[in-house]
């Protein structure tokens, strides 16, 4: 191998990613274990900080509520693809998760009597769908920011060790067991091998497979891609959430809290169109239904603007004081980026790629699975990169900030418990070789293709063919395009040949992960020949519980698989049903 510096580190627990799930795990693993958090960003830059509206928990601080209702809403919101044992844990442990954060210092908004205030959010209802319920605990419209800050503050308090701007690019396995992660240090170009007894992936999502997205530039799915390349399965990758209210043309997120506080969606003629799609809870229907309704309005010619390609979010009937107190940031986004004044003007919005319901399969102890039920000892995942599955086919708003706290904490607990008795799996001598040769290959490539061009073409084909509406035809078009882009990816070159802060090199590496994840997404979309939650197949418009009340499990294979026409094999995994039999989903 080349003259590459490689540094070895040893820990009990290594956590990859310093967003909400990673830091919640770190706090749990905390003081009496040797823990390191390895992150491609400085912790407070993580995308948890962009979450706005709140965190669900049946505290019942402002009106009657129960964890059982929350469980039901989560299962129904996920179009019955939710594993109900996991949803029960999510809902039951939500109250303690909120208390934990408050005790750590999180500045929640308060009720007049000093308790944590709560507000409405899409799909969260009283008594199994009777009416919207106030379940979301919040801090203005910057709840994610406050969670991220509070968790980082507590990591500082506990003296947690961070390796910031270290890009984890590989997982070193030995005889099917994880032994270390391999990371690239941005500042120096050096390679680091982090050996650990327990390894937690908390690497977030991969919204950058799409062009219009609320996701950060850095959300390229490196962690999920690493797991997939190891031959481990990815679960439910066809279920990707499009958030209804992205700023039109930009994709910047405007929280569902805007509708929770009374905001209304209108089409070009000013009609409150959600009354036609969800007569009971209207604008507070779950995200999949609202996003689809919006896209449908545009498709049927009722969109607004010069190209009739968006609808409006109307806040003009809200008191400016309410907007300032409860929705200050998102109204500022409308002013800054579109020059629209939400006090008096309606805000142009359109669905934006937002959240991966699917990801690395885990059980309720956050342990990663190598098939439908075999645990990979010592390997954990939590947060958006994981699929436990509490979100099923469609996540409810405020359930992801909850997910990172409940399952981040569980990952920390179980990883420490395992590390206490486990022996370090010997790190293979050549653990860093694969990463070194991959980087060398990219650095030395002399091709004609540009990374930014390939990435843009990938994102455009995904927006066009695998967004809210999907058919066999569009998915095949996307798949063929991805194959073309893969071939062209072999013919790239980069300009920056330096070792220090070489983001040119890393963008090329990240594109490799994006191509992998886009391909899995498209293939699983094609294999699921039904419509459920966020996955709408226009050629199979109905939910098919007989055939598809199952999770998809996608495995990377060495050679083409006949059934999928790709290198991906698909298995199916039963859904865990406890109390709720599938019903028709009406709101």
């Amino acid at each position: 191998m080349s003259n590459q510096n490689v540094t070895y580190h040893e820990y009990d627990v290594v956590i990859v990613g310093a967003g909400g799930a990673g830091m919640r795990a770190a706090i749990e693993a905390g003081s009496d274990t040797k823990v390191a958090v390895v992150s491609k960003l400085f912790p407070t830059r993580s995308h948890t900080g962009a979450a706005q509206g709140g965190m669900a928990a049946a505290l019942a601080n402002v009106e009657e509520d129960s964890w059982e209702w929350h469980t039901f809403d989560t299962v129904k919101g996920g179009d019955y693809l939710v594993d109900q044992d996991a949803a029960e844990i999510l809902a039951k442990e939500s109250v303690q998760a909120v208390i934990d954060l408050e005790n750590m210092g999180l500045p929640f908004n308060r009720t007049p009597d000093g308790k944590i205030d709560q507000r409405r959010f899409g799909g969260h209802t009283r008594d199994h769908g009777k009416a919207p319920v106030r379940r979301s605990c919040y801090a203005a419209d910057r709840t994610g920011h406050m969670i991220l800050q509070t968790l980082y503050q507590n990591c500082v308090k506990l003296g947690i060790e961070f390796y910031n701007e270290f890009y984890v690019l590989d997982l070193a396995m030995n005889d099917g067991k994880p032994s270390a992660v391999v990371a690239y240090e941005l500042a120096t170009g050096d390679i680091h091998v982090f050996a650990a007894k327990s390894i937690i992936f908390a690497t977030g999502g991969f919204g950058k497979i799409y062009k219009t997205t609320s996701n950060a530039h850095t959300l390229t799915g490196d962690g999920v891609g690493i797991i997939y390349r190891k031959g481990l399965p990815l679960e439910d990758m066809e279920f990707y959430q499009f958030h209804p209210t992205g700023l039109a043309g930009l994709g910047i997120l405007l929280s569902e809290a805007a509708r929770g506080e009374g905001g209304i969606l209108r089409n070009a003629s000013g009609e409150r169109f959600m009354e036609r799609y969800a007569p009971t809870i209207k604008d507070l229907a779950p995200r999949d239904m609202v996003a689809r309704a919006m896209a449908n309005e545009v498709r049927e010619g009722r969109g607004a603007g010069p190209n009739k390609d968006y609808v409006y979010l109307d806040l003009t009937h809200l008191e400016p004081a309410v907007i300032d107190a409860k929705l200050p940031d998102i109204t500022e986004f409308a002013r800054t980026y579109l020059g629209v004044e939400p006090y008096t003007e309606m805000v142009p919005v359109f669905p934006t790629a937002h959240y991966a319901m699917g990801g690395i399969p885990t059980n309720i102890k956050a342990e990663v699975l190598s098939d439908n039920d075999t645990v990979v000892p010592g390997l954990y995942a939590a947060g958006e990169c994981a699929c436990v599955s509490v979100h099923g086919a469609n996540r409810l708003g405020t359930n992801s900030l909850l997910d990172i706290n409940v399952f981040g904490k569980r990952a920390g607990q179980y990883a420490v418990e395992y590390a206490k008795t486990a022996k370090q799996v010997p790190v293979p001598k050549n653990a860093a070789d694969e990463v070194i040769s991959m980087l060398e290959k990219v650095r030395k490539a002399k091709g004609k293709e540009k990374v930014a061009v390939l990435r843009r073409e990938l994102q455009e084909t995904m927006d066009k063919n695998a967004q809210v509406f999907r058919t066999e035809e569009t998915l095949t078009e996307a798949y063929d395009k991805i194959q073309e882009l893969r071939a062209r990816y072999e013919n790239i070159s980069i300009q920056d040949q330096g070792k220090r802060f070489n983001t040119d090199l890393l963008e090329a590496v990240e594109l490799g992960f994006l191509l992998d994840l886009a391909e899995v997404t498209v293939i699983t979309c094609r294999e699921r020949r039904e419509s459920r939650g966020a996955h709408l197949r226009e050629d199979f418009p109905n939910r098919d519980d007989k055939k598809f009340m199952v999770h998809s499990m996608a495995y990377l294979k060495d050679k083409a698989q006949k059934e999928t026409g790709s290198n991906i094999a698909i298995g199916w995994k039963p859904v865990v049903v406890t109390n709720y039999q599938p019903m028709e989903r009406k709101y």
């Binding site: 400085f42 800050q149 000013g270 603007g305 309606m346 220090r500 802060f501």
Partner: protein
């Protein structure tokens, strides 16, 4: 319901003058100019990306969320500290070149990237976490009025726009700087916290709040609209009063 139709977005060519420095090849920084075709809704970050992706892949800067909440891309744009992702090009004077350079007072690592570690260390030095003598069973209670007292300073995203706009910090890197004081303020005025005095003592140091010369650069620079200078003044008053 009046709604102004949004017209076609105009496009224009703009010149960016960027302060470049590669420690592996350059002995000192140099200005390099780039012409780019941009649209009316584009931000300075879009222009930087366009240059990186189409003209020079070695141009290096930090960025992540691209809408002003992660705090990665604070830089000096036409002499003022701003987030590149929150600065619309059309709001700048595009008849002249747009000057982009790293924030001041921290060592430049490469192009627009500076060494943030001294900044983070100052943050850590003020005990930026809740310290409470009680362990409640449930949530602590806090009145909306008490919660409002420190609301402004909870908005900080640690972008360093304020601290690196401060003339005192430029000449004295030991000064805690506005961001660290803002984060101390966030806990000093939190009714649930029991360690205000510890933080007030830390900031009563010769490198603490008294170095502030009230130039308001920090308040102007803050992309989150935090009244930074006011927060510093409140900490000064608390020290004099001997309590928050």
């Amino acid at each position: 319901m009046a709604q102004q139709e949004i017209a076609e977005v105009p496009s224009f060519t703009v010149t960016l003058m960027i302060r470049r420095f590669d420690p592996e090849t350059d002995s000192e920084p140099k200005w390099v100019d780039y012409d780019v075709q941009m649209h009316g809704t584009d931000r300075v970050l879009d222009a930087l990306h366009k240059i990186k992706w189409e003209q020079d892949g070695s141009l290096t800067f930090r960025r992540s969320c691209a809408h002003g909440v992660c705090g990665s891309d604070a830089m000096r744009i036409n002499g003022r500290n701003r987030l590149a992702c929150k600065t619309l090009i059309k709001d700048l004077d595009i008849s002249a070149p747009i000057y982009v350079e790293p924030i001041k007072g921290l060592t430049v690592e490469k192009d627009l990237i500076v060494d943030m570690n001294p900044f983070y260390q100052a943050f850590k030095d003020v005990n930026p976490f809740l310290i409470s003598n009680t362990k409640p069973e449930k949530e602590r209670l806090q009145s909306p009025e008490d919660r409002a007292r420190f609301d402004d300073t909870t908005k900080c995203i640690l972008c360093a726009a304020c601290t690196s706009s401060c003339p005192v910090f430029w000449t004295d890197g030991q000064y805690f700087g506005p961001a660290a004081i803002v984060n101390a303020h966030r806990f000093i005025f939190d009714s649930r916290d029991d360690a205000a005095q510890v933080r007030l003592d830390i900031l009563n140091d010769k490198e603490g709040v008294w170095r502030c010369r009230t130039t308001f650069n920090c308040t102007e620079a803050c992309p989150r609209g935090i009244e930074v200078t006011k927060a510093i003044a409140e900490v000064k008053q608390a020290i004099l009063r001997g309590r928050p």
